[in-house]
């Protein structure tokens, strides 16, 4: 092909090209294998699993296992846990984006007393995960009566300023002329925010949404502590609760069906918004 001829002398052709593909395919297979196995396990019967080796090709119990998981589960119906996870992940991502947009607007476009202090306070919260201050945060949530509640699942996890920081960086790149023009036209600050700044931030908001949704969906330790009622469990932490505590055999087909269900929403978000996701990742972490 002409394209290959022009592609430069560094890229491999012929046998080298196939070796490159082979290496990548082995890598992909290694990455996929645990998920494939979980899927297979979610389509066979319990006896097929407990008498090893289990089959490596899907069985015919797909409908039975998934409907059992969704409607009755082990401690609570998985459909309910999916709903809890969705509320938590959406609450965290949308809540954090909303409060961060407002405060970033304030610190970039206003001079007000305490502005520097506020800026340094939010700077301090960067990168300090909830795991580190877990016991006192739990006590606060308990004192507010937030155990087994959606607000308890959501609020403590939006108490950090990564998003504020990102929006601040972005607002700083918005040309001054836009705010100047808005001011000359006599527009109120909130008009400017809603009509000009927000539409300009669309891509940043979407990229951040992907990252925060996954962050919220995949939380484990916090929901484990504050949801003791099985009907408030999120799916990611609920899986571990499905294992029997004693020597009994775990109900592997249902547990694996639940694992597959737990991965689907974040994976769909990542694959579906791949471009935005990569952009968001590079923006937020670099």
């Amino acid at each position: 092909m002409a394209r290959d001829a022009n592609a430069g002398m560094v890229e491999r052709r012929g046998a080298g090209l196939w070796l490159t593909h082979l290496g990548l395919i082995i890598g992909v297979a290694f990455i996929f294998f645990p998920i494939w196995l979980a899927f297979v396990a979610s389509t066979v019967t319990q006896p097929e699993i407990v008498r090893p080796p289990m089959p490596l090709w899907p069985g015919d119990q797909f409908y039975e296992n998934y409907s059992k998981a969704l409607t009755s589960g082990i401690n609570a119906p998985v459909a309910r846990m999916l709903l809890n996870s969705a509320i938590m992940a959406l609450g965290i991502s949308l809540g954090k984006i909303a409060i961060s947009l407002l405060s970033a607007f304030a610190i970039v476009y206003f001079r007000f007393p305490g502005r520097q202090l506020f800026f340094w306070l939010i700077f301090l919260t960067l990168m300090l995960p909830v795991e580190v201050r877990i016991v006192p945060t739990y006590e606060v949530a308990a004192n507010f009566g937030m155990l087994n509640s959606y607000s308890g699942l959501i609020f403590p996890l939006i108490a950090s300023a990564t998003a504020t920081f990102l929006f601040r960086q972005f607002f700083m790149t918005v040309p001054d002329e836009l705010a100047e023009a808005a001011r000359v036209d006599g527009a109120r600050p909130m008009r400017f925010f809603v009509d000009i700044l927000l539409p300009m931030s669309r891509t940043n908001v979407a990229a951040l949404f992907v990252i925060l949704f996954i962050y919220g969906w995949n939380q484990y330790l916090w929901p484990l502590l504050i949801t003791t009622d099985p009907s408030m469990n999120t799916i990611v932490m609920g899986i571990k609760q499905m294992f029997p505590s004693g020597d009994d055999t775990a109900d592997w087909p249902v547990i694996m069906a639940t694992s597959i269900l737990a991965m689907i929403p974040p994976v769909v978000v990542v694959i579906g918004m791949q471009k935005l996701f990569i952009r968001g990742l590079v923006d937020s972490e670099k």
């Binding site: 394209r3 002398m9 560094v10 890229e11 090209l17 490159t20 593909h21 290496g23 990548l24 890598g27 992909v28 990455i31 645990p34 998920i35 396990a41 407990v50 090893p52 409060i99 407002l102 304030a106 610190i107 476009y109 206003f110 007000f112 305490g114 506020f118 306070l121 990168m127 995960p129 795991e131 580190v132 201050r133 016991v135 006192p136 006590e139 609020f155 939006i158 504020t164 700083m172 705010a179 001011r183 909130m190 995949n218 330790l221 990611v236 899986i239 571990k240 055999t249 547990i255 694992s259 737990a262 974040p266 978000v269 990542v270 694959i271 791949q274 996701f277 990569i278 590079v282 670099k286």
Partner: protein, 293 residues
């Protein structure tokens, strides 16, 4: 950096920062302050009162063999996770970068384990290596190897390392591939014309040019291994056997919630807080340097 054009007003901006300020004060600064405060006390056995011990909790911790062991475990664990996940990712990224077409397809196939929660990854790997029903365990048994991570400390560590690295490969792959694709092809072709073979080019040109990405990933992966792998440890080993996989974050949880030793747990939180701060400073220093490049 400041904006030249600003709006007038004092109450509006204060109102705008209020929601974030409230949430951060209640769920961040107050608990963090409480952690520091509680670390200076020990509760009496009935939990009725607190006794001031100053830095006693810290002195006790630093001389406690279990805590030191947990430090060592965390160091081993995070180095292994970082090396394994970055090594595999770099290997795959170098391969994908050699393709003219199709690297996008591999990227799509490789990124999505990033979306799988560490706790779910833990369950998947636990299933494969389960001592009774695990497929890999069974095949290892056929080969004459008796896998039992419930009893064997080294195997337990190996399993949590692999399970923690697995989803991380995707993340590192994305950054390495972006870094590799940003290296000008002309530089590499010039070296190729001068007769440098692949390995030579990689060692002397590609890897040095990739070093900002590598350093960035090093810090980020250590932070990940320290703080975000709780789910993996909790689902696979619960810190065992004999605390062989009790990393620092797991110990804060185990001592605070399971052991109800609030003073010690709070002191451990403060130590973790210091570690995070150091890592944050390193990261920001590095990013600043990166901007000047």
């Amino acid at each position: 950096m400041e904006k030249r054009v600003t709006f007038k007003g004092m109450w509006l901006p204060l109102l705008l920062v209020l929601p974030q300020m409230l949430i951060t004060a209640v769920f961040f600064f107050y608990p963090a302050g409480q952690a520091v405060w509680q670390s200076l006390f020990i509760p009496d056995p009935f939990g009725l009162s607190m006794q001031w011990v100053g830095l006693g909790n810290f002195e006790f911790l630093l001389s406690d063999p279990y805590y030191r062991a947990s430090f060592a475990t965390t160091a081993v664990f995070s180095i292994l996770v970082t090396v394994v996940s970055m090594g595999v990712a770099l290997y795959l990224a170098v391969l994908a970068d050699r393709l003219i077409k199709g690297s996008g397809t591999y990227r799509t196939l490789l990124i999505w384990p990033y979306a799988v929660a560490p706790a779910v990854a833990g369950v998947l790997w636990l299933f494969m290596f389960n001592t009774r029903v695990g497929v890999v365990t069974w095949y290892l048994g056929q080969l004459g190897y008796d896998w039992n991570h419930v009893l064997n400390e080294g195997e337990a560590m190996g399993l949590v390392v692999v399970a923690s690295s697995w989803g991380r490969v995707s993340y590192n792959f994305l950054f390495f591939l972006a870094g590799l694709q940003a290296i000008p092809k002309s530089v590499i072709e010039a070296a190729a014309i001068d007769g440098a073979r692949f390995w030579m080019r990689f060692r002397t040109i590609v890897f040095p040019l990739l070093s900002p990405t590598t350093f960035f990933l090093l810090v980020v992966n250590i932070v990940y291994a320290f703080f975000e792998t709780f789910g993996v440890i909790h689902t696979i080993t619960s810190g065992g056997p004999q605390q062989a996989t009790t990393i620092l974050v797991y110990k804060v949880y185990a001592d605070g919630f399971v052991g109800q030793d609030l003073g010690s747990s709070a002191a451990q939180s403060v130590i973790l807080l210091l570690i995070v701060s150091v890592l944050t400073v390193i990261q920001f220093k590095f990013i600043e340097r990166r901007v000047h490049y």
